[in-house]
Symmetry: C2
Subunit: 254 residues, 2 copies
């Protein structure tokens, strides 16, 4: 799986290495080095010289990782072109993208390691517990939201956007249900309000609005009240089995 490694390469060797393995297009290339990183495109940024881990994947995506955080310090998805050259005695990689136009330039000031990794394409990935699943479950069991609720539509498109669940309650009133998989904020309230207003504009029937989520923030609940809308608590996920046997922790956070 490890195609090649280069320890403490000089600039020329690093350029050759990158040239060869990036060109092949069938492996992931990594460089650990003191770098200077420049980004220009949708925004512009400069990283002062520092230690970074640079990863270039087969699709041309580039990410520059610092010592913490999941998110890279600097990145670029699916670049169209990658150039490598020596500039002022330093190996430099430049990755460009056309739409939108942007560019990352990494200068490898003091490369410690370069390696090429052959990652075979991997199997399927299964995800459960998304908003889509929650919507499906609630559409099948609307009584969880309110007894007597009858679902008319899922993902009903309107002028102002898609209504997650459109239903009729036991009293015959129309009900707009907005689902949030996680704690609902003011944005969700406003989204719901938008939909309810939209329905009211096209119908003279009474219309209720229900925000269904595992939790709400206090300001959001406030605003719901003042707008005459309702909140209904629904659990986001089926129970998580969480009592596996423990070993002593390896990691002590700073």
């Amino acid at each position: 799986m490890i195609r090649a490694q280069l320890h403490r390469p000089d600039p020329a060797a690093l350029v050759d290495f990158l040239d060869e393995h990036l060109r092949s297009g069938d492996c992931l290339v990594q460089v650990v080095s003191e770098c200077e990183v420049l980004y220009s495109g949708r925004a512009a940024s400069v990283a002062e010289a520092g230690d970074y881990l640079v990863i270039v994947k087969q699709d041309g995506s580039v990410q520059v990782h610092g010592h913490r955080s999941v998110k890279p310090v600097n990145w670029q998805p699916q670049t169209d072109d990658i150039f490598v050259a020596i500039e002022d005695g330093v190996a430099v990689m430049r990755a460009e993208r056309f739409q939108p136009s942007e560019m990352v330039r990494v200068a490898f000031l003091e490369p410690a390691l370069a390696q090429a990794v052959g990652l075979r394409e991997s199997g399927m990935f299964v995800l459960m517990g998304s908003e889509a699943e929650m919507q499906q479950a609630l559409a099948r069991h609307p009584e969880v939201i309110e007894p007597g609720l009858e679902v008319l539509h899922r993902e009903l498109p309107t002028e102002v956007g898609g209504i997650d669940l459109f239903a009729r309650d036991a009293d015959g009133a129309l009900v707009v249900v907005e689902l949030k998989r996680s704690k609902a904020t003011q944005e969700a309230v406003h989204q719901l309000s938008r939909y309810v207003d939209g329905v009211r504009r096209t119908s003279s029937e009474p219309v209720r609005g229900i925000l269904a989520a595992p939790a709400v923030t206090a300001p959001a609940l406030n605003q719901l009240g003042s707008l005459g809308l309702e909140f209904r608590e629904v659990s986001a996920l089926p129970g998580i089995d969480d009592d596996a046997d423990r070993q002593p922790s390896l990691f002590a956070p700073v």
Copy 2:
């Protein structure tokens, strides 16, 4: 910068390696291996056996990278605890987080390489062209939005959220300005509308609403019109010099 490397380790050696270097807490640890990955928490997911690059940073963040895309296949930010053990003859790493409660479990079915990288903390990172910068610039030069505009407040908190710029125009009317660094969508229009309504509720003075962004989507512009709000085009970034000399591209996208 490269503290240690282990090629094709057996499960026991890998566990020892991970134990040692994760415990040290001052280096980034990587494993290239055929893996099986399980996530359970805010959602639940399973990755079938496949080749992945696993990265554990000093802050306990875990990311499992596949062969393409900037985004990891599976990840977890800032875990509280990491455990390593042999289960059924396979080295397994389990990273847990308490708030919210979630867990990633990686089984290293066939490890090709494990390495520990000492990344020194890096220098400052400067970002230009963010919304904060744009706000600052426009607060200093409000005439770019409209001649005669006088800024009263920046980031004015209201009941329904913070107003980016609150101003008075040449005719004495109040002006709510919503800034977007990128193309403005309907969401931005509703945000602006929310703020304008909020101000009108507390003041009988005439109130205008201006959406300032480098571009708008057509539906958003439509809705602006129907709500009696305005759009003003402002460039998000200072000019980007883009005519550096080119070399032949190394990367040909599939």
